[in-house]
């Protein structure tokens, strides 16, 4: 056939456009593009010893107390979804960022950016959710701000919350403290929140008994800290999922992490949706789960303490910190083989077929 010559013609694609000229959605994904933004724009300008820690919260000593301080902005579509709404997320997200530093959350600020035309009922509903979530978490909203932007300049409601908490003496949780031999603990099923949000998106409505896992985790953290003083690091794997949090810990601690695929709990509904869309639950967002890096001898007792709390009922050991493949997260698959669990560049995109 005539193709014989044609087939040997090498056709290639050019070097693509580097994502440097403008902000792309991927810069907000929590993956490598987010990290690049941090390294190339924010840190060079704002570098200081506290910020350099790059933990979910800053911990500073002030007037004899150890204060934890954090801030987070919430943009979610749709605003209301099974298991919660943007208000619930805004409280729990910031409470969790404080809790991951071992802090007892105390106070929140609340800033709202509202889009012209937003139904007043929606605002009422979100504020009621904030009230309820704050009451459950035991935090008080002590200051706030509201701005309104023109229709088309926002997406209904954007929320920012900042939080202050106190950290007891002796608690020192940080992403750079993982050591070879440490165990990786996970408090429950992964992917519930992200798949719930996807299932509500226009054009993708799929049935299924799945709800966001949004929850304030500080009581779970408190129980864990009572059970052991050998907890090195806590992270709530939100955007970017389990994989992004673990890659961050591996990089900051200069260690490898090996996961056991069989040990990672995923609900059937979530697994099914991921299979359908070509997504990997390891990269799907959670809003009520935590990862703990714990010294090997303490791991079992911490798991036991977690299981006694309703937020950690399905807690288990899912992996081990190691020296090999420095800063690489790998996984022992169901088939007993090994594969990499990489940090994604940007957002996880559904495959074509």
């Amino acid at each position: 056939m005539a193709q014989d010559t044609k087939i040997e013609v090498a056709l290639h694609c050019p070097v693509p456009v580097p994502a440097k000229d403008a902000i792309l959605l991927g810069h907000g994904s929590g993956g490598r593009m987010s990290s690049d933004l941090l390294q190339s724009i924010f840190l060079p300008a704002l570098q200081n010893p506290v910020l350099d820690q790059l933990n979910d919260q800053a911990i500073v000593e002030f007037g004899g107390a150890r204060l934890a301080f954090t801030t987070d902005s919430f943009v979610v579509k749709p605003l209301f979804f099974p298991g919660g709404d943007i208000g619930t997320l805004a409280v729990n997200g910031t409470v969790n960022d404080l809790a991951m530093g071992g802090a007892r959350p105390l106070f929140l600020s609340l800033a709202l950016i509202l889009e012209e035309g937003l139904p007043m009922d929606s605002l009422r509903q979100v504020v009621e959710s904030i009230r309820v979530a704050a009451a459950i978490a035991g935090v008080t909203v002590i200051t706030g701000d509201t701005k309104v932007v023109e229709k088309g300049s926002g997406d209904g409601i954007f929320v920012n919350t900042s939080g202050i908490g106190v950290v007891a003496p002796g608690i020192n949780l940080s992403a750079d403290r993982a050591r070879p031999g440490d165990r990786v603990l996970l408090s429950g099923t992964i992917g519930d929140h992200g798949i719930t949000i996807l299932s509500q998106r226009e054009g993708l409505e799929f049935a299924g008994d799945v709800a966001s896992d949004t929850a304030a985790l500080h009581t779970l953290v408190a129980d864990m800290l009572i059970a052991s003083s050998e907890i090195r690091c806590l992270r709530d794997p939100t955007r970017g999922g389990l994989s992004s949090s673990l890659n961050e810990i591996a990089a900051r601690s200069r260690v490898g992490i090996e996961l056991d695929e069989k040990a990672i709990p995923v609900r059937d509904e979530v697994q099914g949706a991921c299979e359908m869309l070509g997504l990997d639950p390891l990269y799907v967002a959670n809003e009520g789960k935590l990862i703990a890096i714990v010294a090997p001898d303490a791991a079992e007792s911490v798991v036991a303490a977690m299981r006694n709390n309703t937020l950690g009922r399905e807690a288990r050991i899912i992996g081990t910190v190691n020296e090999s493949h420095s800063s690489m997260v790998t996984m022992r698959t169901r088939l007993g083989t090994s594969r990499i669990v990489d940090l994604l560049a940007g957002d996880q995109l559904p495959r074509i077929c």
Partner: protein
């Protein structure tokens, strides 16, 4: 979870591996056609399980990877025009054209949207009569029927603001092109399960007659692939060359006749350029003359757009199964998913991206591959 756990069962998988090792008395080179199958091989580390003599090379079945540069340029051109909404599947947005990609078009104010089905694009067109809605349709025979259906429906409804930039490719002509090459190493194929769900597997019998090569239509789970590999090795060891169907839970001999009917109604077979391979006769679908009012290429006058594809990497050899991604000196260093030199590193279905994402530690552990 049913239909999943049993196809990812370690005991069954290891049993199949042992059987493959027992049957294989000499080295064989096999190719999986689909990007989805490559993805499974890498994600589950099946290359680590297979006996040394059984080598898998990776086929051209990643729709994103083989979409020619000029088609991406056309999509970018159309998406940049005022009043246009370009809608596509997620993966296409990241693929670079000559100067930019669709993500950047979006960031610069272009209306570019991701959907999961072309009918969503239709829905958008109905709801937004003031916008010209263009669906960027790429993919193999698998995605083609739904796209054909969208065009068919648009014509039936008399929609004036919906069109399709179609760049469909067909598997059997690509296999013929690979087998015709004097550099071909492939001795057996795992056929594309989802393509065959639509098209059946009758059309592969011509290839077998012509090239005497066994083809086993395979699924996408680890046990599917191992079973297909075992069936191929068995045929090769016995000197047979037949079409067999491993993916019986989805594929029939005739395929989906309704889907084929709508394909024939809306599309016609045409010559098509494949990135990394070149022009292959009768290897694509174009929109028929009767549906010209829905053909974005004609409506926006982009038929003449061409693009030169400069030589940077070995993607041509990779897409033909002549080389492994790890044979490339740029792999993992100058070429990564963030800074890809070639299309197979861009798409999550691409062979280079699959190696990079799941397997590069094994490459490092073994030294040079």
């Amino acid at each position: 979870m049913k239909y999943l756990d049993e196809y990812r069962d370690e005991r069954i998988a290891r049993g199949l591996v042992a059987e493959i090792a027992r049957r294989a008395t000499r080295p064989w080179v096999l190719m999986e056609i689909c990007g989805g199958q490559t993805h499974t091989l890498m994600r589950f580390g099946i290359d680590e399980l297979l006996p040394q003599g059984v080598e898998m090379v990776h086929g051209p079945g990643c729709p994103v990877c083989v979409t020619p540069l000029e088609t991406i340029d056309k999509a970018i051109d159309i998406a940049s025009r005022p009043g246009v909404t370009l809608i596509s599947y997620g993966d296409m947005l990241r693929v670079p054209g000559s100067n930019t990609d669709l993500f950047h078009v979006k960031a610069n104010g272009g209306d570019v949207r991701i959907v999961y089905a072309p009918t969503e694009a239709l829905k958008f067109a109905r709801a937004n009569p003031d916008r010209q809605v263009v669906f960027f349709a790429v993919g193999f025979e698998t995605t083609a029927p739904a796209n054909a259906m969208a065009v068919w429906q648009a014509k039936r409804e008399g929609l004036k603001n919906f069109s399709m930039l179609a760049s469909h490719v067909l598997v059997p002509p690509a296999m013929r092109a690979l087998l015709s090459s004097r550099r071909n190493r492939v001795q057996g194929f795992i056929g594309p399960g989802h393509v065959c769900t639509v098209m059946g597997y009758g059309e592969y019998e011509d290839l077998i007659r012509e090239f005497h090569v066994p083809i086993v239509v395979g699924g996408f789970e680890p046990v599917d692939l191992l079973e297909a590999i075992l069936m191929l090795v068995t045929q090769l060891e016995e000197g047979r060359a037949e079409v067999e169907n491993q993916y019986v839970r989805s594929v029939t001999y005739q395929g989906n006749l309704h889907a084929q009917k709508i394909l024939g109604e809306v599309f016609e077979v045409c010559d098509r350029k494949w990135r990394g391979i070149g022009g292959i006769p009768e290897s694509g679908f174009n929109i028929r003359e009767e549906y010209a009012d829905f053909d974005a290429d004609r409506i926006f006058g982009t038929q003449g757009v061409t693009a030169d594809e400069p030589a940077e990497c070995i993607s041509a050899e990779v897409l033909q199964g002549l080389k492994k991604p790890t044979d490339c000196s740029a792999f993992g260093t100058r070429c990564t998913p963030e800074k890809p030199l070639g299309a197979p590193m861009v798409s999550s279905e691409g062979a280079c991206a699959a190696y990079y994402q799941y397997r590069r530690h094994m490459v490092a552990a073994k030294g040079a591959h």
